[in-house]
């Protein structure tokens, strides 16, 4: 690129060669880690010494959540995933000398909303700092972050996961959020190994991030994964982050160590390069196991950064920082302290309340959070707690469910089976979203109502459901009629069918008459088979019982 050029946006900055490819490949933010307390629960290690308590894992998370906003944290550049390289770069983003940061209020509001949702204390005054290190995709040579006084502190994230043989036992835990800080994202380095050069895309440089620091209070991958899943739901409900890990909107680094309860925390490693919740659990559990094995074989755990390799399921050492990195933090002199006001009344005279961040205003905007939704679902509809998780986890499923409930007269917990088993089963097998379902809540309600009014049997209904899935244009009644699936409600006809079955199974009838009532089920099955399930089992049983008694 020409020395005189300011046309950075038109092209990639080309950098010939680089020292350490793996180093650059896995580059993400290097983050401070905070360890303050031990874990609450214990993972079962494979081996342990008799006299000592078992070793347990200790997990803390550092999460970078990209703020959902139309423009960057300190510049007016747009934020868009997969835009052409260097097409979303302002003068400030490219660190042109003489440019200054201008704070985006929307990003501050997102952080405050997130802080409120996580029961944080919102600092009325927070500060920005510069964190220095040279990296090709960080043009200013420093990142603007909030090292001294972040926007929100002392929060809590309540999350649940399932235990028990059938994994239906809901265990609710919580992890403390140490702080939420606003900071800039970096650009991206793309390495062209063939030409031995690095290409830099600054589209992401300067996008607003919320860094959430969780205390090391989790003990295993499953807990961490559940916590992150809950956080994703909260962020999505708030609209402050899209929280898609695969697209990098949510980046989770795990600080992992092992120790024996009561003893000081062990040396930790930082595990990076995790791009899904599932991988997070695997990476953490692998790392805990690895550290235990290292210690048990007499080795020592190194304080290092490791990358998770999703193919092998292992973590591997990433880079050895040459010596200790000193970030030379300094207050950001171009940004005055960030003030957040309690209410419109507390905004000082001369300041336009519309131009500042007011907590009361944001509190009023808080949507129903996932935990509240789940409680409400359980309380209003009498469904199982575990089902409330499924309904809330799946985008749009809760609304779907509640629509069906509204349009049917049956108990909501009877609807849940349809929604979770039939609907989700079909959606998942075809990787569809709830919004893409070929069967509308209205159509499903119609089907359920036919069952409830004894017009079709519940086994037939499942068959009809599959037909509806294949032919969404057809009405439920049409399908039932075409396939001749209406329930046989004519008493005489039922009598005849049952009589035929009883007559053709004399042995079974004898056994039943001798007292083995179970065999009646076999006769019922025969009736079902003959009628292709178009009978009401309760009615059939009554008739058969009468005949064999």
């Amino acid at each position: 690129m020409a020395a005189s050029s300011s046309g950075y946006s038109r092209m990639f900055c080309k950098l010939r060669k680089y020292v350490n490819k793996s180093q650059s490949l896995y580059h993400t933010f290097v983050i401070r880690t905070i360890w303050t307390s031990g874990s609450k629960t214990q993972l079962q290690p494979k081996a342990h010494t008799k006299s000592l308590p078992r070793m347990v894992g200790v997990v803390g998370l550092e999460i970078h959540a990209q703020i959902q906003s139309t423009s960057k944290l300190f510049s007016g550049s747009h934020v868009r995933f997969l835009a052409p390289p260097n097409s979303l770069v302002s003068h400030f983003d490219a660190s042109l000398p003489g440019t200054l940061p201008v704070l985006n209020r929307r990003c501050v509001e997102a952080a405050v909303l997130t802080g409120l949702a996580l029961s944080c204390t919102i600092n009325r005054k927070s500060l920005f700092d510069r964190k220095h290190y040279f990296y090709a995709d960080m043009p200013a040579g420093y990142q603007i972050t909030q090292q001294r006084v972040p926007i929100a502190v002392d929060g809590i994230l309540v999350y649940s996961h399932f235990e028990g043989r059938r994994r239906n036992q809901v265990i609710t835990r919580s992890v403390r959020i140490k702080q939420i800080q606003l900071e800039q994202d970096s650009g991206k380095s793309l390495h062209d190994d063939e030409r031995s050069q690095t290409l830099i895309d600054l589209n992401r440089a300067g996008v607003g991030l919320m860094e959430l620091v969780m205390e090391p209070e989790m003990c295993c991958g499953e807990e961490a994964a559940a916590a992150v899943r809950e956080l994703q739901l909260i962020l999505q409900a708030l609209g402050t982050c899209q929280a898609n890990m695969a697209e990098g909107q949510l980046r989770v680094d795990a600080n992992v160590s092992v120790h024996r309860p009561g003893e000081p925390l062990g040396v930790r490693t930082e595990v990076k390069n995790i791009n899904s919740v599932r991988h997070l659990a695997k990476a953490i559990d692998y790392e805990i196991q690895r550290q235990m094995e290292v210690l048990q074989s007499g080795g020592t755990v190194l304080n290092e950064t490791r990358a998770f390799d999703s193919k092998s399921g292992n973590t591997i050492p990433m880079r050895d920082k040459e010596g200790l990195q000193d970030y030379r933090f300094m207050p950001e002199p171009n940004l005055p302290p960030l003030f957040v006001y309690e209410s419109e009344a507390s905004v000082p005279a001369g300041v336009d309340p519309a131009q500042v961040v007011v907590i009361d205003r944001l509190s009023a905007q808080l949507p129903e959070l996932p935990s509240v939704k789940r409680t409400r679902l359980v309380e209003t509809h009498g469904i199982l707690q575990e089902h409330s998780f499924t309904l809330v986890n799946e985008d749009g499923l809760m609304d779907y469910f509640e629509s069906v409930v509204q349009m049917t007269k049956i108990e909501p917990r009877k609807v849940i089976g349809w929604v979770i088993k039939e609907l989700m089963g079909n959606l998942n097998s075809q990787s569809l979203k709830v919004s893409q379902s070929p069967i509308s809540p209205c159509a499903l309600a119609e089907l359920i109502n036919l069952v409830e009014s004894n017009h079709i049997s519940s086994s037939t209904a499942k068959q009809v459901f599959q037909e509806m899935w294949k032919a969404p244009e057809k009405k439920v009644g049409q399908i039932v009629k075409e396939q001749d699936l209406w329930m046989i409600n004519d008493k005489d006809e039922l009598q005849k069918i049952c009589q035929r079955v009883v007559d053709s199974h004399p042995e079974e009838v004898q056994i039943i008459r001798r007292g083995n009532k179970k065999v009646l089920n076999k006769l019922m099955g025969e009736v079902q088979r003959e009628t292709k399930g178009r009978t009401d089992p309760v009615q059939v049983r009554a008739i058969l019982e009468k005949m064999v008694s």
Partner: protein, 534 residues
């Protein structure tokens, strides 16, 4: 007297006017905007030996002047600056015009935008004639440490100075002061009616004083820094250099105010259209800080300081000694803070997005290192190194935090003095009149800055407005300036007092040495010094 001398005199007569006077001449049609612009550019060419300019923007200047001319001719000038030629220190970004900071690092760098203050002047129809020389990245107090070579003080070439000098004009010449030496020289040598400087520790007032021009450092935050390539963000202020206090006030009024692109700017207090012509000085209390009786203060400067203090007193103002006890520690703290911000601000110059890039490409780190080594001079590199040292985790509390604490105490000193009823402080601007270049370079940049910024940088630490006013000529025939310091956001009151003071002083207009000498000098100096620059 030769023909060219005859040509020079009427030019000087027009070029030596203040903005107010020449603006009137433009409106009256006594001179056209294009003629005026041409005269300034000729004057820049004629005084090339001063090395005041890095870039002369002749072509765009003439276009701007033509547009101004059209407006003036139809009686619709944009304001008091329409058609007024001005120059800008080369650390302010100018759209499509090379902006170098007098550093190899930014040679050939063409910004895609104008600094807010530059844009505001252009919006008023002012005509940008060139970018002025400075110390590299404004780090210095002599304008001697830039990649384009030192700036010469125009007063080195006055009749008065040349007649007492026994040496060759090419060896015996004076520094302009710095780091905005080019801007001060441009105004002093009648090449511009207005020049923008930047003032971090005195960089506008110091050369203003040594070159005999009015130099204003406004309250921090009153003028936008957007587009000013930073030295110390928390102290940098665009500075205004003119030939009269009235002009400085006019320009301040146009440039001041909140800029959404600089979050540290503040709403300007309401200001009347112009400074009062008649003003009762008896309402004013002038403080004389005793700590400013510093070691090394020249007799000439001390005499002028006393004379002006007496002048205020005799006119009925209350003059009293005051104390700023922490001032003595200011320069040390200033240096710590300056180096820290320099280390941080210079981190962006890595050769990737813009500016110089080394051809060494064995690795990214090697490229960074050689790029920065090649791009920065020793002064910049030393400050970066010191700053990074001060910011190390283990040193942070001992240096940066301590310096910040001291900065607060220094600010409180000023606050206390002003709270006691003082309106302005009267101090020297520099220790003495301009030093010969050959003497100046006997000491390194660090030492010189510590000496030269002694009276100016406490004001930057506290963010206060200050102005230097040309007071008198020394026994060597060189300008001596005195500084007035005001309260935060009381820039207008400060200028009102400065205006009164200026009216009592009648500082002389520069008078260049005989023109045959001048022509010869021009040629000889140009041949010898301008091989470095563009």
């Amino acid at each position: 007297m030769s023909a060219s001398s005859a040509a020079f005199r009427p030019v000087a007569a027009m070029l030596g006017l203040s903005i107010r006077e020449v603006s009137q001449a433009l409106r009256d049609g006594r001179v056209s905007a294009t003629e005026l612009c041409r005269k300034c550019i000729n004057q820049i060419q004629r005084t090339r030996y001063l090395n005041a300019f890095i870039t002369i923007t002749e072509e765009t200047a003439m276009e701007q002047a033509q547009r101004a001319h059209n407006r003036l001719r139809t009686g619709k000038p944009l304001g008091p600056l329409d058609g007024i030629p001005f120059s800008v220190k080369d650390n302010f970004c100018t759209e499509n015009i090379e902006t170098t900071c007098a550093s190899s690092m930014l040679k050939g760098y063409i910004p895609p935008f104008n600094a807010t203050v530059v844009q505001k002047l252009l919006d008023q129809g002012a005509v940008l004639v060139g970018k002025t020389n400075l110390d590299e990245f404004a780090m210095g107090s002599g304008s001697t440490d830039g990649v384009f070579g030192p700036v010469r003080n125009p007063w080195s070439y006055t009749t008065l100075y040349r007649e007492q000098s026994t040496e060759d004009p090419d060896s015996d010449w004076l520094i302009s002061g710095g780091s905005s030496g080019g801007s001060a020289a441009a105004v002093a040598s009648l090449s511009s009616f207005l020049a923008l400087g930047s003032d971090t520790g005195g960089s506008t007032r110091n050369p203003g004083s040594l070159c005999g021009v009015v130099a204003l450092k406004p309250t921090y935050g009153l003028l936008s820094r957007h587009g000013l390539i930073p030295l110390v963000n928390s102290m940098d202020v665009p500075g205004i250099m003119t030939r009269s206090v009235h002009d400085a006030a006019t320009v301040l009024r146009i440039m001041q105010g909140r800029d959404e692109r600089d979050s540290t700017t503040i709403q300007a207090p309401s200001t009347p259209p112009s400074l009062p012509e008649h003003f009762d000085i008896r309402d004013i209390r002038v403080g004389i800080p005793k700590e400013y009786h510093a070691l090394g203060l020249s007799q000439d400067t001390l005499d002028q300081w006393s004379r002006v203090a007496t002048m205020f007193e005799q006119a009925g103002a209350q003059v009293q000694e005051v104390s700023l006890p922490h001032t003595q520690h200011s320069i040390v703290c200033y240096h710590v803070l300056c180096c820290c911000e320099v280390a941080s601000n210079m981190a962006r110059f890595d050769g990737l997005e813009y500016g110089h890039r080394s051809t060494v490409d064995s690795s990214t780190d090697a490229m960074y290192a050689t790029t920065r080594h090649e791009g920065f001079n020793n002064v910049v590199r030393r400050r970066i190194l010191s700053g990074n040292y001060f910011l190390l985790k283990s040193n942070y509390d001992r240096y940066f935090v301590k310096a910040q604490q001291m900065r607060r105490l220094i600010t409180e000193d000023f606050t206390n003095v002003f709270r006691s009823g003082i309106d302005v402080l009267l101090t020297p601007t520099t220790l003495s009149d301009a030093v010969r270049y050959s003497d100046f370079i006997q000491e390194d940049n660090r030492t010189r800055s510590a000496q030269e910024d002694i009276f100016t940088q406490p004001v930057n630490m506290a963010g206060l407005p200050a102005v230097t006013i040309p007071t008198a000529l020394s026994c060597r025939g060189l300008p001596i300036g005195l500084q007035l310091i005001g309260q935060t956001l009381q820039d207008w009151k400060l200028l009102t007092v400065a205006h009164w003071m200026e009216q009592q002083l009648s500082f002389p207009v520069i008078h260049f040495h005989g023109d045959s000498d001048e022509r010869e000098l021009d040629r000889s100096v140009r041949e010898r010094t301008h091989t470095i620059g563009s």
